[in-house]
Protein backbone atom coordinates (compact mmCIF):
# COMPACT_ATOMS: atom_id res chain seq x y z
CA UNK A 1 0.00 0.00 0.00
CA UNK A 2 1.33 3.42 -0.92
CA UNK A 3 1.66 5.46 2.28
CA UNK A 4 3.45 8.56 1.06
CA UNK A 5 3.20 10.02 -2.40
CA UNK A 6 5.18 13.09 -3.36
CA UNK A 7 4.33 14.54 -6.75
CA UNK A 8 6.33 17.24 -8.48
CA UNK A 9 6.96 19.41 -5.41
CA UNK A 10 8.40 22.88 -5.86
CA UNK A 11 9.43 25.11 -3.00
CA UNK A 12 11.35 28.35 -2.85
CA UNK A 13 12.74 30.45 -0.09
CA UNK A 14 12.91 34.13 -0.98
CA UNK A 15 14.46 34.18 -4.46
CA UNK A 16 16.07 30.77 -4.15
CA UNK A 17 14.51 27.64 -5.65
CA UNK A 18 14.98 24.95 -3.00
CA UNK A 19 12.91 22.10 -4.46
CA UNK A 20 12.46 21.86 -8.22
CA UNK A 21 10.01 19.09 -8.98
CA UNK A 22 10.65 16.33 -6.46
CA UNK A 23 8.62 13.15 -6.84
CA UNK A 24 8.84 9.76 -5.14
CA UNK A 25 6.63 7.41 -3.23
CA UNK A 26 6.95 5.12 -0.26
CA UNK A 27 5.06 1.95 0.57
CA UNK A 28 3.86 1.21 4.07
CA UNK A 29 6.82 -0.13 6.08
CA UNK A 30 9.45 1.32 3.73
CA UNK A 31 12.58 2.95 5.03
CA UNK A 32 13.92 5.55 2.60
CA UNK A 33 16.97 7.71 3.00
CA UNK A 34 17.49 11.13 1.45
CA UNK A 35 21.12 11.94 0.71
CA UNK A 36 22.77 14.82 -1.05
CA UNK A 37 25.04 17.80 -0.54
CA UNK A 38 24.05 20.55 1.88
CA UNK A 39 21.58 22.93 0.32
CA UNK A 40 20.21 20.23 -1.95
CA UNK A 41 16.75 20.48 -0.32
CA UNK A 42 16.67 17.29 1.79
CA UNK A 43 15.51 18.92 5.02
CA UNK A 44 13.08 21.17 3.18
CA UNK A 45 11.54 18.12 1.52
CA UNK A 46 11.06 16.53 4.93
CA UNK A 47 9.51 19.68 6.39
CA UNK A 48 7.02 19.92 3.54
CA UNK A 49 5.61 16.54 4.57
CA UNK A 50 4.43 17.81 7.98
CA UNK A 51 3.95 21.32 6.64
CA UNK A 52 6.51 23.04 8.82
CA UNK A 53 7.34 24.39 5.38
CA UNK A 54 4.69 25.07 2.72
CA UNK A 55 5.15 23.94 -0.87
CA UNK A 56 4.82 26.39 -3.76
CA UNK A 57 3.27 23.75 -5.98
CA UNK A 58 2.92 20.01 -6.30
CA UNK A 59 1.05 17.52 -4.16
CA UNK A 60 1.84 15.37 -1.17
CA UNK A 61 -0.43 12.57 -0.04
CA UNK A 62 -0.12 10.66 3.20
CA UNK A 63 -2.41 7.68 3.04
CA UNK A 64 -5.73 9.31 2.10
CA UNK A 65 -4.82 12.73 3.50
CA UNK A 66 -4.07 15.41 0.93
CA UNK A 67 -1.23 17.00 2.90
CA UNK A 68 -0.74 20.02 0.68
CA UNK A 69 -4.43 20.99 0.45
CA UNK A 70 -4.95 24.30 2.28
CA UNK A 71 -8.02 22.99 4.11
CA UNK A 72 -6.12 20.07 5.65
CA UNK A 73 -5.93 20.38 9.44
CA UNK A 74 -2.17 20.58 10.08
CA UNK A 75 -2.47 19.68 13.75
CA UNK A 76 -4.28 16.48 12.87
CA UNK A 77 -1.85 15.73 10.06
CA UNK A 78 1.14 16.18 12.38
CA UNK A 79 -0.15 13.57 14.81
CA UNK A 80 0.33 11.09 11.97
CA UNK A 81 3.83 12.30 11.10
CA UNK A 82 6.48 12.06 13.80
CA UNK A 83 9.54 14.25 13.42
CA UNK A 84 12.99 13.91 14.90
CA UNK A 85 15.24 16.96 14.70
CA UNK A 86 18.95 17.35 14.22
CA UNK A 87 19.21 19.52 17.35
CA UNK A 88 16.76 17.34 19.30
CA UNK A 89 14.56 20.32 20.29
CA UNK A 90 13.52 18.66 23.51
CA UNK A 91 11.34 20.90 25.67
CA UNK A 92 14.06 22.32 27.91
CA UNK A 93 11.86 22.90 30.97
CA UNK A 94 10.39 19.40 31.06
CA UNK A 95 11.80 16.04 32.13
CA UNK A 96 12.30 13.22 29.65
CA UNK A 97 8.95 11.79 30.73
CA UNK A 98 7.13 15.13 30.54
CA UNK A 99 8.56 15.74 27.06
CA UNK A 100 6.52 12.76 25.98
CA UNK A 101 3.40 13.23 28.10
CA UNK A 102 2.87 16.85 26.96
CA UNK A 103 1.72 15.87 23.49
CA UNK A 104 -0.24 12.89 24.76
CA UNK A 105 -2.16 15.06 27.21
CA UNK A 106 -2.57 18.28 25.22
CA UNK A 107 -2.97 16.90 21.72
CA UNK A 108 -4.44 13.44 22.19
CA UNK A 109 -6.32 14.31 25.38
CA UNK A 110 -5.07 11.21 27.17
CA UNK A 111 -5.54 11.07 30.96
CA UNK A 112 -2.31 12.14 32.76
CA UNK A 113 -1.90 8.82 34.58
CA UNK A 114 -2.32 6.85 31.36
CA UNK A 115 -0.01 9.28 29.51
CA UNK A 116 2.74 8.70 32.07
CA UNK A 117 2.43 4.93 31.66
CA UNK A 118 2.66 5.20 27.89
CA UNK A 119 5.62 7.56 28.13
CA UNK A 120 7.44 5.18 30.49
CA UNK A 121 6.92 2.31 28.05
CA UNK A 122 8.17 4.47 25.23
CA UNK A 123 11.33 5.47 27.12
CA UNK A 124 11.84 1.83 28.02
CA UNK A 125 11.80 0.94 24.33
CA UNK A 126 14.61 3.37 23.54
CA UNK A 127 16.64 2.17 26.52
CA UNK A 128 16.07 5.17 28.73
CA UNK A 129 13.94 3.75 31.53
CA UNK A 130 16.52 5.05 34.00
CA UNK A 131 16.28 8.65 32.78
CA UNK A 132 12.58 9.24 33.28
CA UNK A 133 12.98 12.31 35.48
CA UNK A 134 16.14 13.73 33.92
CA UNK A 135 15.96 17.16 32.28
CA UNK A 136 17.35 17.56 28.76
CA UNK A 137 20.41 19.46 29.99
CA UNK A 138 21.27 16.47 32.17
CA UNK A 139 21.29 14.02 29.24
CA UNK A 140 23.98 13.19 26.69
CA UNK A 141 23.32 13.97 23.02
CA UNK A 142 22.55 10.35 22.26
CA UNK A 143 20.10 10.16 25.15
CA UNK A 144 18.44 13.41 24.08
CA UNK A 145 17.94 12.10 20.59
CA UNK A 146 16.43 8.89 21.90
CA UNK A 147 13.99 10.94 23.98
CA UNK A 148 13.24 12.87 20.78
CA UNK A 149 12.47 9.62 19.01
CA UNK A 150 10.34 8.38 21.90
CA UNK A 151 8.42 11.66 21.96
CA UNK A 152 7.57 11.32 18.27
CA UNK A 153 6.72 7.60 18.51
CA UNK A 154 4.40 8.11 21.45
CA UNK A 155 1.95 9.91 19.18
CA UNK A 156 1.65 6.67 17.18
CA UNK A 157 2.43 8.22 13.79
CA UNK A 158 2.01 6.48 10.47
CA UNK A 159 5.28 7.93 9.23
CA UNK A 160 8.46 9.00 11.01
CA UNK A 161 10.66 11.76 9.61
CA UNK A 162 14.27 12.01 10.75
CA UNK A 163 16.14 15.21 9.93
CA UNK A 164 19.85 14.39 10.25
CA UNK A 165 19.26 12.65 13.58
CA UNK A 166 22.91 11.85 14.23
CA UNK A 167 24.77 14.85 12.79
CA UNK A 168 24.86 16.77 16.08
CA UNK A 169 26.19 13.78 18.02
CA UNK A 170 29.70 12.89 19.09
CA UNK A 171 30.83 9.93 16.96
CA UNK A 172 30.78 7.48 19.88
CA UNK A 173 27.10 8.29 20.57
CA UNK A 174 25.87 7.76 17.01
CA UNK A 175 25.65 4.00 17.46
CA UNK A 176 22.98 4.10 20.20
CA UNK A 177 20.69 6.23 18.08
CA UNK A 178 21.29 4.18 14.93
CA UNK A 179 20.46 1.00 16.85
CA UNK A 180 17.14 2.45 17.97
CA UNK A 181 16.38 3.46 14.38
CA UNK A 182 17.29 0.02 13.07
CA UNK A 183 15.00 -1.62 15.63
CA UNK A 184 12.25 0.70 14.60
CA UNK A 185 12.79 -0.13 10.92
CA UNK A 186 12.79 -3.84 11.69
CA UNK A 187 9.51 -3.36 13.57
CA UNK A 188 7.85 -2.18 10.36
CA UNK A 189 7.73 1.59 10.94
CA UNK A 190 7.65 3.67 7.76
CA UNK A 191 10.61 6.00 7.97
CA UNK A 192 11.99 8.78 5.80
CA UNK A 193 15.47 9.69 6.95
CA UNK A 194 17.77 12.53 5.95
CA UNK A 195 21.15 11.14 6.86
CA UNK A 196 24.60 10.41 5.58
CA UNK A 197 25.05 7.47 7.94
CA UNK A 198 26.02 4.84 5.39
CA UNK A 199 25.88 2.08 7.98
CA UNK A 200 22.24 2.81 8.67
CA UNK A 201 21.43 3.19 4.97
CA UNK A 202 23.04 -0.14 4.09
CA UNK A 203 21.42 -2.05 6.91
CA UNK A 204 17.94 -0.56 6.93
CA UNK A 205 17.12 1.41 3.78
CA UNK A 206 14.89 0.09 1.05
CA UNK A 207 15.65 3.02 -1.22
CA UNK A 208 18.01 5.92 -1.24
CA UNK A 209 17.05 9.11 -3.06
CA UNK A 210 20.02 11.22 -4.04
CA UNK A 211 19.11 14.90 -4.21
CA UNK A 212 21.07 17.70 -5.79
CA UNK A 213 19.89 21.25 -6.50
CA UNK A 214 16.36 20.44 -5.42
CA UNK A 215 15.95 17.47 -7.75
CA UNK A 216 16.05 13.73 -7.23
CA UNK A 217 19.07 12.81 -9.35
CA UNK A 218 18.85 9.10 -8.76
CA UNK A 219 16.92 6.61 -6.63
CA UNK A 220 17.54 2.98 -5.84
CA UNK A 221 18.39 0.40 -3.22
CA UNK A 222 21.60 1.10 -1.25
CA UNK A 223 23.73 -1.57 -2.93
CA UNK A 224 22.81 -0.24 -6.36
CA UNK A 225 23.49 3.42 -5.47
CA UNK A 226 26.64 2.75 -3.51
CA UNK A 227 28.17 0.21 -5.90
CA UNK A 228 26.77 1.03 -9.33
CA UNK A 229 25.45 4.58 -9.44
CA UNK A 230 24.21 5.59 -12.87
CA UNK A 231 24.87 9.30 -12.56
CA UNK A 232 28.32 10.85 -12.25
CA UNK A 233 27.00 13.34 -9.68
CA UNK A 234 25.82 10.51 -7.43
CA UNK A 235 29.05 8.59 -7.86
CA UNK A 236 31.22 11.57 -6.95
CA UNK A 237 29.21 12.48 -3.88
CA UNK A 238 28.83 8.96 -2.52
CA UNK A 239 32.45 7.97 -3.07
CA UNK A 240 33.46 11.09 -1.14
CA UNK A 241 31.11 10.06 1.64
CA UNK A 242 32.45 6.53 1.68
CA UNK A 243 36.01 7.79 1.90
CA UNK A 244 35.07 10.07 4.83
CA UNK A 245 33.29 7.40 6.82
CA UNK A 246 35.83 4.62 6.30
CA UNK A 247 38.52 6.73 7.91
Amino acid sequence: MTLLNIEDVYQSYEAEQVLQGVSFEMQQGDVDVLMGPSGSGKSTMLRCINRLTEVDSGDIWLDDTHVTAPETDVNELRQNVGMVFQDFNLFAHLTALENITLGLKRVKGIHPERAREQARDQLDQVGLDGQVSAYPAELSGGQKQRVGIARALAMEPKLMLFDEPTSALDPELVGDVVTVMQDLAAGGMTMLVVSHEMGFARSAADDIHFLDNGRVVESGPPEQLFEHPEQDRTATFLSGLQADQSQ
Binding site: L52, N75, E76, N89, A92, G103, R106, V107, A137, E138
Partner: protein, 224 residues
Protein backbone atom coordinates in the same frame (compact mmCIF):
# COMPACT_ATOMS: atom_id res chain seq x y z
CA UNK B 1 22.98 67.32 62.31
CA UNK B 2 21.68 64.20 63.98
CA UNK B 3 20.10 64.91 67.33
CA UNK B 4 18.72 62.59 69.98
CA UNK B 5 15.57 64.63 70.29
CA UNK B 6 14.87 64.26 66.58
CA UNK B 7 15.38 60.48 66.73
CA UNK B 8 12.94 60.29 69.64
CA UNK B 9 10.45 62.36 67.63
CA UNK B 10 10.77 60.11 64.56
CA UNK B 11 10.49 56.88 66.55
CA UNK B 12 7.54 58.09 68.56
CA UNK B 13 5.76 58.73 65.25
CA UNK B 14 6.60 55.30 63.89
CA UNK B 15 2.89 54.57 63.43
CA UNK B 16 2.64 57.44 60.93
CA UNK B 17 5.53 56.00 58.95
CA UNK B 18 4.04 52.53 59.27
CA UNK B 19 0.76 53.68 57.73
CA UNK B 20 2.82 55.14 54.88
CA UNK B 21 4.68 51.87 54.53
CA UNK B 22 1.42 49.95 54.20
CA UNK B 23 0.38 52.25 51.32
CA UNK B 24 3.81 51.93 49.71
CA UNK B 25 3.75 48.14 49.80
CA UNK B 26 0.14 48.06 48.63
CA UNK B 27 0.83 50.41 45.75
CA UNK B 28 3.89 48.39 44.72
CA UNK B 29 1.80 45.22 44.58
CA UNK B 30 -1.14 46.76 42.69
CA UNK B 31 1.18 48.52 40.22
CA UNK B 32 3.27 45.43 39.53
CA UNK B 33 0.09 43.39 39.08
CA UNK B 34 -1.38 45.84 36.60
CA UNK B 35 2.04 45.93 34.94
CA UNK B 36 2.15 42.15 34.65
CA UNK B 37 -1.45 41.67 33.56
CA UNK B 38 -1.06 44.23 30.77
CA UNK B 39 2.67 43.89 30.11
CA UNK B 40 2.81 40.15 29.57
CA UNK B 41 0.14 40.05 26.86
CA UNK B 42 1.61 43.22 25.34
CA UNK B 43 5.01 41.53 25.10
CA UNK B 44 3.39 38.49 23.50
CA UNK B 45 1.55 40.69 20.99
CA UNK B 46 4.84 42.36 20.07
CA UNK B 47 6.38 38.95 19.35
CA UNK B 48 3.50 36.96 17.89
CA UNK B 49 0.88 39.52 16.91
CA UNK B 50 0.56 41.50 13.74
CA UNK B 51 -1.35 44.35 12.17
CA UNK B 52 -3.06 47.18 14.03
CA UNK B 53 -2.97 45.56 17.47
CA UNK B 54 0.78 45.11 17.35
CA UNK B 55 1.32 48.66 16.12
CA UNK B 56 -1.00 50.06 18.80
CA UNK B 57 0.88 48.18 21.53
CA UNK B 58 4.22 49.45 20.26
CA UNK B 59 3.04 53.06 20.09
CA UNK B 60 1.47 52.92 23.57
CA UNK B 61 4.61 51.38 25.01
CA UNK B 62 6.79 53.99 23.38
CA UNK B 63 4.65 56.84 24.74
CA UNK B 64 4.62 55.44 28.27
CA UNK B 65 8.33 54.77 28.32
CA UNK B 66 9.05 58.19 26.88
CA UNK B 67 7.13 60.20 29.50
CA UNK B 68 8.55 61.06 32.93
CA UNK B 69 6.52 59.21 35.54
CA UNK B 70 5.85 62.43 37.52
CA UNK B 71 4.29 63.94 34.43
CA UNK B 72 2.18 60.81 33.86
CA UNK B 73 0.87 60.88 37.43
CA UNK B 74 0.15 64.63 37.40
CA UNK B 75 -1.67 64.39 34.08
CA UNK B 76 -3.70 61.37 35.22
CA UNK B 77 -4.67 63.05 38.47
CA UNK B 78 -5.15 66.71 37.61
CA UNK B 79 -5.87 66.70 33.87
CA UNK B 80 -7.58 63.42 33.02
CA UNK B 81 -8.85 62.80 36.58
CA UNK B 82 -9.01 59.03 36.18
CA UNK B 83 -10.11 58.77 39.80
CA UNK B 84 -10.61 60.95 42.87
CA UNK B 85 -8.51 58.42 44.71
CA UNK B 86 -4.80 59.18 44.60
CA UNK B 87 -4.12 55.50 45.26
CA UNK B 88 -6.09 54.36 42.22
CA UNK B 89 -4.56 57.08 40.07
CA UNK B 90 -1.07 56.09 41.19
CA UNK B 91 -1.85 52.42 40.51
CA UNK B 92 -2.97 53.31 36.98
CA UNK B 93 0.07 55.51 36.31
CA UNK B 94 2.72 53.27 37.80
CA UNK B 95 0.93 50.17 36.50
CA UNK B 96 0.82 51.42 32.92
CA UNK B 97 4.42 52.51 33.04
CA UNK B 98 5.44 49.16 34.49
CA UNK B 99 3.41 47.38 31.80
CA UNK B 100 5.41 49.25 29.17
CA UNK B 101 8.68 48.12 30.71
CA UNK B 102 7.52 44.59 31.54
CA UNK B 103 6.31 44.14 27.96
CA UNK B 104 9.88 44.69 26.74
CA UNK B 105 11.19 42.30 29.35
CA UNK B 106 8.78 39.59 28.25
CA UNK B 107 9.30 40.35 24.58
CA UNK B 108 13.00 39.72 25.02
CA UNK B 109 12.41 36.58 27.06
CA UNK B 110 9.93 35.14 24.56
CA UNK B 111 12.27 35.87 21.68
CA UNK B 112 15.19 34.27 23.49
CA UNK B 113 13.53 30.85 23.53
CA UNK B 114 14.97 28.82 20.67
CA UNK B 115 12.78 28.63 17.58
CA UNK B 116 13.19 24.83 17.58
CA UNK B 117 11.10 24.63 20.76
CA UNK B 118 8.04 26.03 18.99
CA UNK B 119 8.71 23.85 15.96
CA UNK B 120 8.97 20.70 18.05
CA UNK B 121 5.69 21.52 19.80
CA UNK B 122 3.97 22.20 16.48
CA UNK B 123 5.43 18.98 15.07
CA UNK B 124 3.62 16.84 17.67
CA UNK B 125 0.37 18.52 16.63
CA UNK B 126 0.01 21.34 19.14
CA UNK B 127 -1.68 24.50 17.89
CA UNK B 128 0.33 27.72 17.93
CA UNK B 129 -1.34 29.08 21.07
CA UNK B 130 -1.02 25.75 22.86
CA UNK B 131 2.64 25.54 21.94
CA UNK B 132 3.30 29.09 23.13
CA UNK B 133 1.42 28.49 26.36
CA UNK B 134 2.89 25.12 27.32
CA UNK B 135 6.37 25.32 25.84
CA UNK B 136 7.47 28.90 25.24
CA UNK B 137 5.85 30.78 28.13
CA UNK B 138 7.12 28.54 30.95
CA UNK B 139 10.66 29.00 29.68
CA UNK B 140 10.26 32.71 29.00
CA UNK B 141 8.87 33.39 32.49
CA UNK B 142 11.92 31.79 34.06
CA UNK B 143 14.19 33.92 31.89
CA UNK B 144 12.26 37.05 32.87
CA UNK B 145 13.10 36.70 36.54
CA UNK B 146 16.22 38.91 36.63
CA UNK B 147 14.39 41.60 34.69
CA UNK B 148 11.39 41.27 36.96
CA UNK B 149 13.51 41.71 40.08
CA UNK B 150 14.85 44.88 38.55
CA UNK B 151 11.35 46.07 37.72
CA UNK B 152 10.14 45.30 41.23
CA UNK B 153 12.93 47.44 42.71
CA UNK B 154 12.16 50.32 40.39
CA UNK B 155 8.41 50.25 41.04
CA UNK B 156 8.85 49.99 44.81
CA UNK B 157 11.02 53.09 44.93
CA UNK B 158 8.96 54.95 42.35
CA UNK B 159 5.85 54.66 44.49
CA UNK B 160 7.41 57.64 46.29
CA UNK B 161 6.60 59.73 43.22
CA UNK B 162 2.92 59.50 44.24
CA UNK B 163 4.02 62.18 46.72
CA UNK B 164 3.34 64.55 43.83
CA UNK B 165 -0.40 63.78 43.93
CA UNK B 166 -0.55 63.76 47.72
CA UNK B 167 -0.87 60.03 48.30
CA UNK B 168 -0.04 59.22 51.94
CA UNK B 169 2.70 56.74 51.14
CA UNK B 170 5.98 56.43 53.01
CA UNK B 171 7.70 59.53 51.65
CA UNK B 172 4.62 61.71 52.09
CA UNK B 173 4.21 60.56 55.67
CA UNK B 174 7.87 61.32 56.34
CA UNK B 175 7.39 64.77 54.85
CA UNK B 176 4.36 65.25 57.08
CA UNK B 177 6.55 64.59 60.11
CA UNK B 178 9.35 67.08 59.60
CA UNK B 179 7.02 69.79 58.36
CA UNK B 180 5.21 69.80 61.71
CA UNK B 181 6.07 73.09 63.40
CA UNK B 182 9.20 72.88 65.51
CA UNK B 183 10.42 69.64 63.97
CA UNK B 184 12.16 70.83 60.83
CA UNK B 185 15.47 69.70 62.31
CA UNK B 186 14.26 66.09 62.06
CA UNK B 187 14.49 66.15 58.26
CA UNK B 188 17.73 64.16 58.10
CA UNK B 189 16.54 61.54 60.58
CA UNK B 190 13.29 61.11 58.67
CA UNK B 191 15.09 60.57 55.38
CA UNK B 192 17.55 58.15 56.93
CA UNK B 193 14.73 56.08 58.37
CA UNK B 194 12.62 55.91 55.23
CA UNK B 195 15.67 55.21 53.06
CA UNK B 196 16.54 52.32 55.35
CA UNK B 197 12.98 51.03 55.04
CA UNK B 198 13.13 51.15 51.21
CA UNK B 199 16.49 49.42 51.31
CA UNK B 200 15.37 46.63 53.61
CA UNK B 201 12.22 46.03 51.58
CA UNK B 202 14.17 45.88 48.34
CA UNK B 203 16.87 43.67 49.76
CA UNK B 204 14.58 41.18 51.47
CA UNK B 205 12.21 40.86 48.53
CA UNK B 206 15.06 40.39 46.08
CA UNK B 207 16.51 37.59 48.19
CA UNK B 208 13.04 36.03 48.26
CA UNK B 209 12.78 36.30 44.47
CA UNK B 210 16.27 34.77 44.15
CA UNK B 211 15.04 31.77 46.11
CA UNK B 212 11.95 31.50 43.93
CA UNK B 213 14.11 31.70 40.83
CA UNK B 214 16.43 28.95 42.11
CA UNK B 215 13.46 26.80 43.00
CA UNK B 216 12.04 26.96 39.49
CA UNK B 217 15.40 26.87 37.69
CA UNK B 218 15.68 24.15 35.06
CA UNK B 219 18.27 21.60 36.23
CA UNK B 220 21.34 21.78 34.02
CA UNK B 221 23.16 18.79 35.45
CA UNK B 222 26.09 20.96 36.49
CA UNK B 223 25.20 21.04 40.16
CA UNK B 224 24.31 17.39 40.55
Amino acid sequence: MLQTGDWVFVLSNADTLLSGLVITVGLTLTSLSVGFLLGFPAGAVEVYGDGILQRAVKVMGGLLRGTPIVVTLLVLFFVVSVSESAFITATVGLGLRSAAYQSQMFRGALQSVDEGQLEAARAVGMGKLQAIRHVIVPQALRRSMPGFQNEFTIVLKDTSIAFAIGLAELLTQGYNLFTQSGHSTAVLEVFLVISAVYFVLTFVTNRGLDRLSDYYAIPSGENT
